[in-house]
């Protein structure tokens, strides 16, 4: 059986169009680049200053002058370029990134997103996430359907401090795909393979419309 992470990554990969500029967050989002459909080539933006990011650098080629947003040595592909942080975030805020894919602690039915802090417990900082979510043309949240303790992550209203308000376009989990309607409201459009509608809805606190065209994720 396909792992939850792989389900999410495979489904996210179907969202990209040929030629898109995409920023992938650390973790599950990064895996999406492994599952691009044939004929779809995307350009990865790394917010620390690169377009056209390639894979991990070989030990011989590794340099601290070319790193991904986790600080690890990577390569640059033909047609890529380097730039400084103001330019990088200029591209991001200016709407020149087609999709940003990132994880989240919570998402809600108004398209709000909380991903960067748990007050009093864990405050890693927002890094580039707020700029990405505000600036990218489409915001795709890629995350587990529920928390480890089984509690919901898709809520009526986020309880944690927001990363941005009303910016999420699509939520992809290991159980379902949910679209955020313009102006708010969630529509469940797809189920993961071997997941029933009841199972998916049981893990969601938010009010959800079920699409009349509900289908199984086309990832097999």
């Amino acid at each position: 059986m396909m792992q939850g992470r792989e389900i999410i990554a495979r489904r996210v990969a179907l969202e990209f169009k040929d030629g898109d500029v995409v920023n992938l967050g650390i973790g599950i989002p990064t895996l999406a680049a492994n599952y691009l459909p044939e004929g779809v080539h995307i350009q990865l933006q790394s917010e620390n200053g690169m377009l056209g990011m390639g894979g991990a650098a070989s030990p011989e080629a590794a340099s601290l002058d070319i790193t991904d947003a986790g600080g690890n040595p990577v390569t640059v592909l033909p047609g890529g370029m380097f730039f400084d942080s103001p330019f990088s975030f200029g591209l991001i805020r200016g709407g020149h990134v087609d999709e940003t894919v990132l994880g989240a602690l919570e998402v809600d039915q108004e398209g709000n997103l909380a991903s960067w802090m748990i007050p009093g417990k864990r405050v890693p900082g927002m890094g580039g996430a707020m700029d990405l979510v505000v600036g990218a043309r489409r915001v795709i949240v890629a995350m587990e359907h529920v928390n480890k303790d089984g509690s919901a992550k898709i809520l009526k209203k986020c309880r944690l401090p927001l990363t941005a308000a009303h910016k999420v376009n699509l939520v992809v989990t290991n159980a379902a795909v949910l679209k955020v309607k313009p102006g708010g409201g969630l529509v469940l459009t797809e189920l993961a393979p071997e997941t029933t509608l009841e199972q998916a809805l049981a893990g969601i606190e938010a009010d959800v419309e079920v699409s009349p065209d509900l289908k199984t994720m086309p990832i097999l």
Binding site: G49, D65, D84, R93
Partner: protein
């Protein structure tokens, strides 16, 4: 023209207790480790530090925070530095977190003579607390004001003796704008070349911004 290459001890001695320092780099990429190690050795304290992430355990700026020399921090992501996290929990006012693109613009404003910028990033989140909000053409923005430092520590691959810097790859990150945003700028470089060795299309930072060039290298 004056040769700006000087011993690291002399360059770093420009930092005084209570100064605002900026340190370039993104995690381990493009970090001026030799000169920041010298700052730890010299013992200046009560510093304000502007740094994207305050480093990870293999960065000198990580240890600067750990050594208790820093009173106030401006950063965007501190998840890789638990010492900074501890400061934030113990004294919330001591660590100011900004969206990464906002931090980049704040430093750029300080370097480029602007009082601030209007950004949509942070609207509707805790980032807007205490900040002026302006509406332009019906859209809400936060006014984010300039940051200017006493001393900037930046890293480049090479400098010519006039201080023109060549910064490779995405090590450009915050190093370019920080070189503009401080009264005294220390550039740490791997190679020092005669004036004219770096072509006019390859200079990343003009020598006019650089006060001291120090030799980098492996550091303990």
């Amino acid at each position: 023209m004056k040769n700006k290459v000087i011993p690291v001890e002399e360059a770093v001695a420009h930092v005084k207790d209570g100064d605002h320092i900026m340190v370039g780099g993104f995690l381990k990429g493009g970090t001026p480790d030799v000169s920041v190690r010298e700052l730890i050795r010299q013992g200046q304290k009560g510093l304000t530090l502007t740094s994207n992430d305050t480093g990870r355990p293999d960065c000198a700026v990580f240890d600067l925070v750990g050594a208790g020399r820093v009173a106030v921090i401006n950063a965007s992501y501190i998840g890789a530095n638990p010492e900074t996290g501890k400061m934030l929990i113990e004294n919330p006012g001591s660590v100011r977190l900004f969206p990464q693109g906002t931090l980049a613009e704040k430093v750029r404003c300080g370097g480029f003579g602007l009082g601030g910028v209007l950004t949509p990033v942070g609207v509707g989140t805790v980032v807007e607390e205490g900040k002026q909000k302006l509406v332009v053409d019906g859209k809400e923005y936060l006014l984010e004001t300039a940051l200017h430092a006493d001393v900037a520590f930046v890293k480049a691959h090479a400098a010519d003796e006039a201080g023109n810097l060549l910064i490779r790859g995405n090590a450009k990150n915050f190093n370019v704008v920080m070189a503009a945003a401080a009264d005294y700028v220390i550039a740490e470089v791997d190679e020092i070349l005669p004036v004219g060795s770096i072509g006019p299309e390859d200079v990343t930072v003009p020598g006019a911004l650089v006060n001291a060039i120090v030799k980098g290298g492996a550091c303990a």
